[in-house]
């Protein structure tokens, strides 16, 4: 039933967009507005449910849900993210990889693939949203959420590999849907299949939201910021055509170029951030002071320190996706006889993504002075609407990050624009795969099923580029967090299976039964 309902919603959105495009084709600006309006109305109730606050407070229950889960996993596995950190690095380096498996998916490749799905706009635009609304203090909570999130990632990715499907033709499919149904069966618990179905539905929405519309939206914001304002649907159509060519047409060359360029862009981004920080080294101490002070006082932002905390936790989860379940799909293709090794490797992901890259962005924004502060009180000045900190040039999202980098390196916004477009593109490709896995889990494997999902995916790119940031980011967050609701619920039941693996592996590692191949 639920599936039918969601399908209806999906198709009505698509239909609405199609109707909108025919009716308003002549008036371009109105088209963007119309798409925006329809989209906001349709997604509103879903968004409100996910972000409902605890009665009598402004604190969304979903934020607590994620943080509590990450804390429980951290304690339950005895701070696995710190104890096995060194081992995780050795695994990625290939110290424990069997040379006979050369040519198979390595730990490094599985990690890199998962990272290319998570490193992207969350780190650039998402952080700017967090810092813009929650002030520098949001960074503190973001780092904390990143560190705790490493344990959630460890749990889901271990299960992802352990319960993946390996087909006779040698291909693999893995992810929360598989560990939910198989894991629950193994424990003799009912309802695993139902959870898997609900998760798949949310995963499809997440793929269309955070993995697609948010990316298209911010890519458009970035491009139009440079070449001048033009209708969003144009960017949408261009992106949709290219993505379609890759995922449907199988034009490998485009994907191959992105694969090579995206890591390079990531390094370039972190490098530029480092240079800005080095040049402004005298302000780093001050910036960290702002981060710590803001974390507990809010420094005059809307919502005080709770506002900073909510923003920090929200954007961390959106950026590193710990507990969401998407990583379990990406990591599950690795070649290993020990599922837990991929769990160890995956815990590096929130570290790289959130603790390192997001923090860099936040520091650059803080140091740049783009956030307007009242020098007399040391408190931030709110914008006219009173919902975010006023910024130089009234920027938010990716434009804020761009302005912050631009204030130190004048030409960097151009590089950033290219980076954003490429990140957006690679994230879309990754999420089109996650969404597809959920889709085929629901509707079965097959050419027709694949094509239908991929077509819907491309249509949403256009909607995403045309809609304005507010409704898009709300829906994207809501859809991705809805995945976390189901996924974490299942993880609570399945975590004892991971504990068993962890005990057995640690014992064998200590006894020397698990040997290094490289010395």
């Amino acid at each position: 039933m639920a599936m039918k309902k969601i399908q209806t919603i999906l198709f009505s959105q698509v239909a609405a967009a199609t109707v909108a495009s025919t009716a308003y084709a002549q008036e371009v600006m109105t088209l963007d507005q119309k798409v925006n309006e329809v989209f906001a109305t349709v997604t509103g109730p879903f968004v409100n449910l996910i972000f409902a606050p605890f009665p009598g407070t402004t604190f969304p229950w979903i934020v607590l849900w994620l943080v509590v889960a990450a804390s429980i996993f951290t304690l339950y596995f005895g701070f696995v993210q710190f104890r096995f950190f060194g081992h995780a690095i050795k695994l990625v380096k290939g110290d424990y990889s069997d040379p006979n498996d050369a040519g198979e998916v390595s730990h490094f490749q599985a990690l890199a693939t998962a990272l290319s799905g998570t490193v992207g706009l969350g780190n650039i635009a998402g952080v700017a949203v967090a810092v813009g609304i929650g002030g520098p203090g949001a960074t503190f909570w973001m780092i904390l959420a990143g560190l705790l999130g490493m344990a959630s990632k460890f749990t889901e990715c271990t299960l992802g590999v352990k319960y993946r499907n390996e087909y006779p033709d040698g291909t693999v499919s893995g992810g929360p849907m598989y560990y939910m149904s198989k894991g629950f069966d193994e424990l003799g618990l009912p309802g695993g299949k139902i959870l898997a179905i609900v998760f798949s539905i949310f995963c499809i929405l997440g793929a269309l939201g955070g993995g697609n519309m948010f990316q298209a939206n911010q890519a458009h914001a970035q491009i139009s910021g440079i070449v001048g304002d033009y209708p969003g649907w144009i960017t949408g159509v261009v992106f949709a055509v290219i993505v379609f060519a890759v995922i449907v047409g199988g034009i490998k060359s485009i994907a191959n170029v992105t694969e090579k360029v995206v890591p390079f862009m990531g390094v370039l981004y972190v490098g530029a951030a480092l240079i800005i920080l080095i040049v402004n080294y005298d302000k780093i101490g001050w910036a960290f002071g702002q981060i710590f002070e803001g974390a507990f006082t809010g420094l005059g932002i809307a919502g005080g320190f709770v506002g900073a905390l909510i923003q920090g936790f929200k954007r961390a989860a959106f950026s590193n996706e710990a507990g969401v379940g998407s990583a379990a799909i990406a990591h599950s293709a690795v070649r290993t006889n020990e599922p837990i090794t991929e769990g160890f490797v995956s815990l590096l992901e929130p570290l790289i993504d959130t603790v390192v890259i997001c923090t860099m962005t936040a520091l650059v924004i803080t140091i740049s002075g783009q956030l307007i502060m009242d020098p007399a009180t040391g408190q931030f000045v709110l914008n006219e609407a009173g919902n975010a900190i006023a910024t130089v040039g009234d920027n938010s999202g990716v434009a804020l990050t761009s302005a912050a980098f631009g204030s130190s390196i004048s030409w960097f916004p151009y590089v950033l624009a290219v980076a954003v477009v490429l990140f957006a593109f690679s994230t879309m490709i990754s999420w089109s795969y996650y969404g597809l896995k959920a889709w085929t889990y629901l509707f079965g494997e097959g050419k027709m099923q694949e094509l239908s999902f991929k077509t819907i995916f491309c249509i949403f790119i256009i909607i995403g580029a045309a809609a304005s940031l507010g409704p898009v980011i709300d829906f994207s967050d809501a859809a991705i967090f809805a995945m976390a609701v189901v996924n974490i619920f299942a993880l609570y039941f399945l975590m004892k299976l991971v504990k068993k693996e962890l005990k057995s592996y640690s014992a064998r590692l200590a006894s020397g039964e698990i040997k290094k191949f490289k010395h």
Binding site: A102, E104, V105, F108, A112, G170, S430
Partner: protein
Amino acid sequence: MTTKLVVGLDGHETGERALAYAQNLAGLIGDCEILVAYIIEWSPYSFQTAEENAVRHKRREEEISTAKERIINPAIKKLSDAGVKTEGIVRHGDVATALNDISKENNAQQIVVARSSAGGFTKRIFGSATSNLVMSASVPVTVVA
């Protein structure tokens, strides 16, 4: 004791020359086995999409069987027809490292390769597989022109 020679093939005419040279050498040595190797260039540190990862195991099997069928088996046939003892090896990895590993694992006395067919830009930046092998090998290397 049987003398073992490792011959690195590249699927081109250049590799054929290395093979012919090794065959000639084997005739001169007498008690000699030729290990015919084809290395599929691969790195554990490359970047792939999730979709490629999902089908990787299948692709790997396909790559190995194609290499055997097109490159290794004809070479083996040619050698055994000539009465030379031989064995075929297909492996993924870095060409220079893998050929050297094979020679170490089998206690081979020599590696025979052809002068690299790669040229231009890539060669200038990374050097060719052949020159890497010559610099890193732990047994004598013969480079056939």
